[in-house]
Amino acid sequence: MLTFATAIVRAWTWLYTAGLDADPRDDRRAQIESDLWDQKDEATERGVAPLAMSAHILARLALGIPDDLLWRGEQLHVATAVVTVMLGDAHSRPVTFRRASGFGVSVTVHVLLVMLAVWLAPRVTSVALHGNSSATTPTILFVPPNAVVPAPAVEGRPTKALDIVPEDNLGIKLGESASTLAIPGFTFNFSKVIAHAGSLFPFVTGTRELERIAATALLPRAPTELINPFGHRGAEGGGLPKLVLSGAEFQALVDRAWARRDRWNAFVTLVPTIADHNPDEGALPDLMRAYVEQNGLQPYVENDIHDPRLWTQLGVVADHTFFIDFIGQYIARHTSTKTATELLFLLDTLIQGSYDTLTALLDVIPEVDLHWTHEANPAAFDAIMTIQQHYRAELEHRNLLTRAALRLYFDEARISVLTNLIETTPGRYRENDARFLIGSIYWRQGREAAAVGAWSGLHSVPSDRYADASAAIVDVLRARSGPNVDSARINRVLDGERGRWISFSHDRLKQFGYRFSTF
């Protein structure tokens, strides 16, 4: 099929360049030949299926045919003009004739190729660029156990996280008065972003706590009765009282910990409650779950200008090292507990937010998109430029040069966390939800077999967050008669889950006086 596709491209190129002067003709043919070679070479290296590659090649050919014809016309126009000037009008007729006959043949071939490409493209284009994900597996941020550093001694409550995160401002110096950005409808103190400019994306640059969290997966798994004689929980959590709250008190705590911008400062209001109560029994696990589900991932949409959303998101990720340190220290003390499991779900949401903010930072064209920042505070504009250049260099250093590679890297980080969760959660607590998320990641990547593998372990637990979606997925898997699953139904289930998140988020933001596009 691949040979056929490349042969079609070569034949078409030969056809529409036939009769042209040698220079443009040979040059165009050489460029197409080189492009085909590079595309095939890279596809082979990345393990892209030949059928997918063929469809991609044919689609590129078909969609470009109008431009091929126009380009030929332009070349003939030039040639005709030259011939007319040099030899007189009579000599230009054969050129015009070739143009007309070539056009007729071209239209016929065009129609045939469009039909073929349209037939093939939906079947395979989703993998054409990205290839098999296994071919570009990135180096994951988690490290093997022998590289894990010992846990730092933690005295008292784990609010020490605030104290141990060093400043890393990438050499950006700002006066106190220069750290406020005021543009229409948005005032933002960006000193926190600058102070932690070098650690805004810890899932890329790595931290000691992330390594330590990864190592917890290797500890003995807790038995189902929630007593772990091998872990830390007996010593650290067993003596702590259960958290007891009324429904109103519970929701008031969750609401007090909500924030649109300063997530960490709001979360800190929960820290004494978390530190002083039993991690398995009582309301603490539910409290942490409610925090993640109600206050965790929030939608951000640009309204009229780019600046506020980017700055707000940078402010949110500037807190990530605080959260990671807290999660790492808590899990080290309360391994294999329900609250530790909830904190791993929190870590999963941080990774998702980190990816989105990083891509927003990379995509922004400061000169065009940050017009308001430039006008209001040139130092802030320069800081964004420095931060953007720094992370571009970091990604290049890690060979994360393409968006697909970056996405894969963050996906693998999420899968690591969720796998860690499954390995450490006590009594299979919320294991289903982790399996659902892992399968969803694989499904989005186009790795159907891996997704089905992850979902095949799902079982019905009504209290799970994704219970309904998981039940629907299980139904789809049971209904299949052969190796293929009903993709449309799976997509509907996943779209529905995203829709529920958007709908809930809308109401939650409204509760605090916000919209998707206000920060």
């Binding site: 050489a30 080189s34 492009d35 070679w37 590079d38 989703s126 054409a128 009229d304 065009v368 017009h371």
Partner: protein, 114 residues
């Protein structure tokens, strides 16, 4: 006035240049444009090479055939290598300014979690 694909090509050329890749070939450019747009399909052959020819004709890009010894040594077809000219950079700046003045409040409206 540049059309969107031409702006995208100049943007990509500038971005590649900032990363140290001042010269680029057609496929390399198509890939970088697709990645920037998160597109699944690369720019069509005809569309891409016609646009490159047009930009070269306007003096915004210049090109050369690579040294034939290199492809011969690597066992692949020869490439035409393009560079963004100073005129190209200026045209890009103008296009950006024009876009900013015409649509300073342009929004991507992408809903994303953080």
């Amino acid at each position: 006035m540049l059309i969107p694909l031409e702006v995208a090509i100049c943007e990509t050329a500038l971005r590649l240049g900032r990363r140290g890749t001042r010269e680029f070939h057609g496929y390399q450019l198509a890939k970088a444009v697709a990645e920037a747009d998160e597109a699944k399909l690369l720019t069509a052959y005809g569309t891409l090479y016609r646009a490159l020819a047009r930009l070269e004709g306007m003096g915004l890009l210049r090109s050369r055939r690579e040294d034939p010894l290199i492809p011969a040594r690597e066992g692949r077809p020869g490439r035409r290598l393009y560079t963004l000219t100073a005129l190209g950079e200026t045209a890009l700046e103008k296009a950006r300014a024009e876009a900013a003045s015409k649509a300073p409040r342009r929004a991507r409206r992408r809903l994303a979690p953080a």
